[in-house]
């Protein structure tokens, strides 16, 4: 009996170990991007979208599960590159402030900050890569 328990525990630990070996490097790469993105968010976005990503009533929209944050990466990248002053309704609310272009950020910085918001504030979406930002930037010029 004890033998079996031991076997199960050891196999379990072994499996966790295997997955740790294979997933961890990817995870830590994602985590590193998120960590860098958080610093950029704090410097460039927090003053309008707030610490919790909840935005400001009638002024600045939330970044929590909106169609832009979770949706098409190219559209999202374009917002950061070009800013936004559309007056469109975001989840049925209008916001009365404008967002400036942040094109002075590098491709990597934009990828990081977007990866951060897509994995923060209760969001879960795929990372944005430097290459994707580069492609969109080339097209928007």
């Amino acid at each position: 009996m004890i033998y079996w328990i031991r076997l199960v525990v050891v196999t379990g630990l072994f499996l966790i170990g295997i997955s740790a070996w294979t997933i961890a490097p990817l995870q830590s790469k994602l985590q590193a991007s998120i960590d860098r993105g958080k610093i950029i968010y704090t410097q460039q976005c927090l003053s309008c979208h707030m610490m919790d990503g909840g935005g400001v009533q009638s002024m600045n929209p939330p970044l929590i599960r909106t169609k832009w944050v979770l949706g098409d990466k190219a559209d999202l990248i374009t917002i950061v590159l070009k800013g936004m002053n559309s007056g469109v309704e975001i989840d049925a609310v209008q916001y009365h402030n404008i967002m400036a272009s942040h094109a002075d950020l590098s491709d990597q910085q934009i990828a990081d900050v977007l990866t951060y918001i897509r994995n923060g504030f209760g969001n879960k979406a795929k990372a944005v890569t430097e290459a994707e930002v580069k492609t969109v930037r080339a097209k928007t010029h």
Binding site: G17, T42, Q43, M51, Q57, H96, I98, A100
Partner: protein, 435 residues
């Protein structure tokens, strides 16, 4: 065992411990919320007021309740920033004098901020136009479906678009046309983008325009630019003692975001001042070239125009008559002329602060009504908090997630005051003594 694996198991364990803690935390949070909402008569928050004053919830859940006006018969009119059930104005009537509105009805198919009563007319604004409704002999809106259009075609460009209004006693209407910009940069709010001198916005916005209160279909050409160099005004009131218009300017944002080398986040949270100005025909308050620094008590050259936080400028711009800390967002102004409140309130100014957002990452502030005593038309002494607690408590103030954000203010014929909230649409009535 490889160390990475040990770390991972450890992390798993830790995170489960944390989530247990997080849950525990959440539930205690909920309890405080519930206990705060028990207090009777005040809705889901309890207002704190000076001794002898009390507040009642006059109405609730109106929508985004902005400015408010009270007719001589006691009827209360509230302007909504978004239509509710297709209506942009709500009339509230307290039929039994218990401090709560029993009757509620809506009219006006336009959303907006401004509302005022004068000369038997109710004036109300959208973000582009000003309308008026005739009030009949018994004080009712005669024809709620057919207002007369007084002003039309005002600029509304997605920033500072609310058209706050005021009336004087000589048949004039004053309209704020906010600047659709933070500091008149070539690219609004963009780091490194220079300021435009002269600022082209000032021709048609960034000031107060004066129109005839009774002439239909006026536009820019019919009005005069009464005052310029005002970034955005929401709180304004005609002072009947001085016979002048007073306005509260919303000062500029983002000194640190745009100039991190000149301003740290603490300075950026406090600067520039939210200013009270007394206006006359031709007044210039200096935006965008300068801002008022309430710590140095000086007009400082804006960094977009070559300033460094110290250089002074704006010799042609007038000084504020009073200044408050930055970003508190003054949305309502009222000179108290009643006799219900104690003597010190007579002719003094109540300023309603909607509450900040541009103080982050510093804690947010505001969400209160303050009082500034006046004597002979000039402020005397310091400001004090008059009504607080709209946010629901210190943590809701600090996070900016206020439960209510006070916005409009008006005085009733019996000398009580009303304060609106545009988050949930509560209207409070604040009275003194046994009123």
């Amino acid at each position: 065992m490889p160390t990475r694996m040990i770390r991972m198991i450890y992390a798993l364990l830790l995170s489960s411990v944390f989530s247990v803690f997080a849950c525990a935390n959440n539930s205690s949070h909920d309890t405080t919320k519930i206990s705060a909402s028990v207090s009777e008569g005040d809705g889901d928050v309890t207002l704190t007021l000076p001794a002898g004053f009390h507040a009642s919830v006059f109405a609730e859940n109106l929508g985004s309740a902005r400015h408010i006006a009270v007719n001589s018969n006691g009827d209360v009119y509230v302007k909504l920033q978004g239509l509710k059930d297709g209506k942009g104005i709500v009339r509230l009537r307290d039929t039994n004098g218990d401090g709560k509105a029993e009757e509620k009805s809506g009219f006006g198919d336009f959303a907006g901020t401004g509302i005022a009563i004068g000369n038997s007319y109710l004036y109300a604004s959208s973000d582009e136009e000003v309308f008026r409704f005739k009030l009949d002999a018994s004080g009712n809106v005669a024809d709620p479906d057919h207002p007369e259009k007084i002003v039309t075609g005002l600029l509304s460009r997605h920033e500072h678009e609310a058209k706050a209004i005021a009336l004087d006693n000589d048949g004039n209407l004053y309209v704020n046309i906010g600047a659709y910009s933070n500091s008149c940069q070539v690219q609004d709010r963009q780091k490194g983008s220079p300021g435009m001198k002269p600022c082209p916005i000032l021709d048609s916005a960034g000031g107060i325009w004066k129109f005839k209160a009774d002439k239909p279909n006026q536009t820019y050409g019919d009005g005069v630019r009464y005052a310029t160099g005002l970034r955005n005004v929401v709180g304004l009131n005609w002072n009947t003692q001085t016979n002048t218009l007073f306005v509260m300017q919303h000062g500029r944002d983002q000194l640190h975001d745009l100039f991190p080398d000149l301003y740290d986040t603490k300075q950026s949270a406090e600067l520039p001042a939210e200013c009270l100005y007394e206006l006359h025909q031709g007044s210039n308050c200096g935006w965008p070239y300068i801002y008022y620094d309430q710590v140095q008590h000086k007009k400082i050259l804006a960094p977009e125009f070559g300033g460094d936080g110290k250089k002074t400028a704006g010799e042609d711009a007038q000084d504020p008559v009073f200044s408050f800390p930055g970003h508190l967002a003054p949305n309502g102004l009222l000179f108290y002329t009643g006799s219900q409140f104690p003597e010190k309130y007579k002719n003094g100014a109540f300023v309603v602060f909607h509450g900040s957002w541009n103080r982050a990452p510093e804690p947010q502030a505001g969400y209160f009504v303050v009082f500034v005593p006046f004597k002979d038309g000039k402020p005397v002494g310091n400001w004090e908090v008059f009504a607080d607690g709209f946010s629901g408590g210190a943590q809701f103030t600090a996070s900016g997630r206020a439960k209510h954000r006070p916005c409009g203010i008006a005085q009733s014929p019996d000398g009580s005051i009303y304060v609106t909230d545009d988050t949930k649409g509560t209207v409070w009535k604040i009275s003194y003594g046994n009123k």
